[in-house]
C-alpha cells in the first residue's frame, strides 16, 4: 500500500499570525514539503492544478519535474489534473515528457476542477463538465496508446494522422486515477477503463465514500478487469497530529475554524465525527485510518492533506515528521496484515512494464522531414 500527501497549493492567511505567504514562498514551500515527504519515507506526493487565486499551482508538470530532479524515490502524482479544461493533447505530451524525465516515477489523477469560472477561461462550458471529462479522457487514452491518431469529437478540433510526442516511456502509458468528490459518472469511467479510482473522501461523510467506492468496485468487476475487491482504490485523508491529543485539538482549532472550505460551519468535534478528519495523537490517527478499509475495502493508496488552511511551513514539516515516523510505519504493517493475498498493489511504471512483457522503445521516427525529404532515421535502423 502507498502512503503519501496531496496538496492543492493554496495561499491562505495563517489565522494565528495574520501572515499570508507570497506566491513565491508558497511555491518554494511546496517543494520543501515534497522533499520532506521523501525524507520521512512517504511513497507519494500529489500536486494540484488550479488557475485562480488563492492557488499557485497552475502548472503541475513543471513542479513535478523540478521535484523529480531533487528526489530519488517518491512517486509524483497530481490532485488533480484538470481533464475538463486542459487540452488532452497537452496532457498527453506534458505527462509523457515528465514520465521520461522522472524515469517513470509518476502517475496522475484526473479531476473536473473546483470552480465553475475556470471553464470559460479555457473556452469550455461548465454545463458540459461530465461530457468533457468523458470525451477528453477517451482521446487522452488513445493518444498514449496509438502512435498515429485520427480522431473526431465534439469539444476540440479533429486530429488527422497526429502523433503525440514524446511517446510514453518504454511504450507504457502513465497509470491514471480518476478523482471524484461526488459524481457517479467518474466512478463509472474509472471502472470502465480499469483505471484507479480516488475518492476525495475528506470533507464528506464516510457513507458517501462507501457508495462511491462500492459503485466503482462493482462496475470494475462488471467490465472484466478483476474481482471487485481487486479494484484499485485511493482515499484522501486529513490529519493534524500531536503526541498528546488535546494539544492537537488546541493547535489545530484556529486553523479549522477559519479554513476556507469548511470554516465557520460545524465545530471541529462535529466535523471529526462526520468526516475522515483526524485531529489527535498518532495512535488516534492510526485507528481512524485503519477504519477506512471497513467501508472502502482493502485499498492501495492513502493520501493526506497536510498543508492547507494557512498552516505555516514549519508546522507542516513537523506534521510530516510525525506522519512519517509514528503513523505510517504502523499503518503499513497493520494494513498489510489485514490484506488478502489476491489484492494487488497500485500499478507503478515497473509493474506496468513487467505486465506488458518488458519495456520497448516507442519512439516514432519522422518518416521524412519537410526540408530534405529524407528521414532523420536511416531505413535499416527503424523499429
Amino acid at each position: 500500500m502507498q502512503f503519501g500527501i496531496f496538496t492543492v497549493g493554496d495561499v491562505t492567511t495563517d489565522p494565528t499570525t495574520g501572515h499570508t505567504p507570497t506566491e513565491h514562498e508558497r511555491i518554494k514551500a511546496t517543494v520543501a514539503i515534497a522533499q520532506k515527504a521523501e525524507e520521512v519515507g512517504l511513497d507519494v506526493i500529489a500536486f494540484g492544478q488550479h488557475h485562480n487565486p488563492p492557488f499557485t499551482a497552475s502548472s503541475p508538470t513543471t513542479t513535478m519535474a523540478y521535484v523529480a530532479a531533487l528526489t530519488e524515490r517518491i512517486l509524483l502524482s497530481t490532485s488533480t489534473t484538470l481533464i475538463t479544461t486542459t487540452d488532452p493533447v497537452r496532457i498527453a505530451e506534458d505527462y509523457a515528457q515528465l514520465q521520461h524525465l522522472a524515469d517513470g516515477r509518476m502517475d496522475l489523477m484526473l479531476g473536473r476542477g473546483n470552480t465553475g469560472p475556470v471553464y470559460p477561461w479555457f473556452g469550455k462550458d461548465i454545463r458540459q463538465g461530465i461530457e468533457l471529462a468523458v470525451e477528453n479522457y477517451a482521446l487522452l487514452h488513445q493518444l498514449w496508446r496509438d502512435d498515429v491518431v485520427n480522431w473526431q469529437g465534439k469539444h476540440r478540433t479533429p486530429l488527422q494522422g497526429f502523433t503525440a510526442t514524446p511517446r510514453p516511456l518504454d511504450g507504457v502509458p502513465p497509470f491514471v486515477w480518476h478523482g471524484s468528490i461526488r459524481s457517479p459518472e467518474i466512478a463509472e469511467q474509472a471502472a470502465y477503463y480499469g483505471d484507479g479510482f480516488f475518492s476525495n473522501h475528506i470533507f464528506w461523510p464516510s457513507s458517501h465514500t462507501a457508495q462511491m467506492v462500492g459503485l466503482y468496485r462493482r462496475r470494475f468487476e462488471h467490465y472484466g478487469h478483476g474481482k471487485a475487491h481487486q479494484a484499485i482504490v485511493g482515499l484522501g485523508g486529513q490529519a493534524f497530529i500531536a503526541k498528546n491529543s488535546q494539544d492537537a485539538v488546541n493547535q489545530f482549532r484556529p486553523y479549522f475554524d477559519n479554513a476556507p472550505v469548511y470554516g465557520h460551519g460545524p465545530s471541529l468535534e462535529e466535523f471529526v465525527e462526520a468526516t475522515p478528519l483526524n485531529v489527535g495523537s498518532p495512535q488516534q490517527v492510526i485507528e481512524k485510518t485503519l477504519g477506512f478499509r471497513e467501508y472502502a475495502g482493502d485499498y492501495q493508496r492513502q493520501l493526506w492533506l497536510m498543508d492547507h488552511a494557512g498552516l505555516p511551513l514549519k508546522t507542516v514539516l513537523e506534521q510530516l515528521d510525525l506522519l512519517g515516523e509514528e503513523v505510517v510505519p504502523v499503518l503499513r504493517k497493520e494494513f498489510a496484515a489485514l490484506r488478502p493475498a489476491d489484492v494487488p498493489d497500485a500499478p507503478t511504471h515497473q509493474s506496468l512494464v513487467a505486465a506488458a512483457g518488458g519495456g520497448r522503445d516507442s519512439t516514432v521516427p519522422a518518416p521524412a522531414d519537410a526540408v530534405t525529404g529524407q528521414s532523420p532515421v536511416p531505413e535499416g535502423a527503424r523499429a
Binding site: A187, E188, Y192, Q211, Y262, G265, E270
Partner: protein, 208 residues
C-alpha cells in the same frame, strides 16, 4: 392506496401558529384522502431544530444526522404541505434554506399545499408572489388554493373562512395525489439512486 404526506413547518416559537396551521392542513388532507379511498401517513418536519444543521450543510455540502433523515422524508413523500411564517415580505430564510439544500428536481411533480402565517392579512399575497414561484421552480405541482392565516383568522368567529380554505386546499391535494394530475413530471434521481444504478459508460460515451 397508502400514501405518505410530509409536512414542512418553519415556525420558530412554541406554541407556533405556523405549526397549528400545518396540523390543521395535515388533518384535513388525511380526511380528504380518506374521502377518495386513500389512507395517508404523516411525517412532520420541524425546521427549527434543524437550523444549525442547515447552516452547516450550506457550508460543507453534506447534510448530517437529523437533517439527512428530514430530507429523506421530504423527497420520498407522495405529497407535501409546506408552511412558513412571513418575514420581511416573504417566506422565512430558514424555510428557504431547507429547499435550497435539496438535490435538483428532487421534488419534481410532487403535489404540494402552500401555506403561510403572519400577524396581518396584508401579507397574504406573499403566497402567490413569492412562495408559488419557488415551488414552480422546484417543478412541484402546487394546489390552486394556497392557505394564508393571519392572527385574526385563528380567533375567527365569522363562519370559519380559514377552515373553508384549508378544506378546499386539502380536497385539491387529494385530487392531485389520487388522480392523473400529479406526477406528470418525474422526480429527479437522487445521488443514492445514481450510485445504485449508474448510467452505463457506453451511454456516457454517446456510443449506444
Amino acid at each position: 392506496m397508502s400514501l405518505r404526506i410530509a409536512v414542512v413547518t418553519a415556525g420558530l416559537s412554541n406554541p407556533s401558529s405556523t405549526r397549528l396551521l400545518a396540523d390543521q392542513l395535515a388533518a384535513s388532507a388525511v380526511s380528504a384522502l380518506a374521502d377518495v379511498g386513500a389512507s395517508a401517513e404523516l411525517d412532520v418536519v420541524e425546521l427549527r431544530p434543524l437550523a444549525h444543521a442547515l447552516a452547516d450543510r450550506l457550508l460543507t455540502g453534506f447534510p448530517t444526522g437529523d437533517l439527512s433523515t428530514a430530507i429523506a422524508k421530504v423527497v420520498t413523500a407522495d405529497a407535501l404541505i409546506v408552511v412558513s411564517p412571513i418575514f420581511s415580505a416573504s417566506y422565512s430564510g430558514l424555510f428557504k434554506m431547507f429547499f435550497d439544500v435539496l438535490e435538483p428536481e428532487a421534488l419534481a411533480g410532487v403535489p404540494v399545499v402552500l401555506a403561510a402565517t403572519a400577524g396581518s392579512a396584508r401579507h397574504s399575497l406573499v403566497l402567490e408572489h413569492a412562495m408559488r414561484p419557488l415551488f414552480s421552480y422546484l417543478k412541484t405541482t402546487p394546489t390552486p388554493t394556497a392557505v394564508f392565516a393571519a392572527s385574526e383568522d385563528f380567533g375567527d368567529t365569522d363562519g370559519g373562512a380559514l377552515t373553508v380554505r384549508i378544506e378546499r386546499a386539502a380536497r385539491e391535494l387529494a385530487a392531485l395525489v389520487s388522480g392523473v394530475g400529479g406526477r406528470a413530471t418525474p422526480r429527479g434521481r437522487s445521488l443514492e439512486e445514481q450510485f445504485a444504478d449508474p448510467t452505463p459508460f457506453a451511454e456516457l460515451l454517446g456510443r449506444t
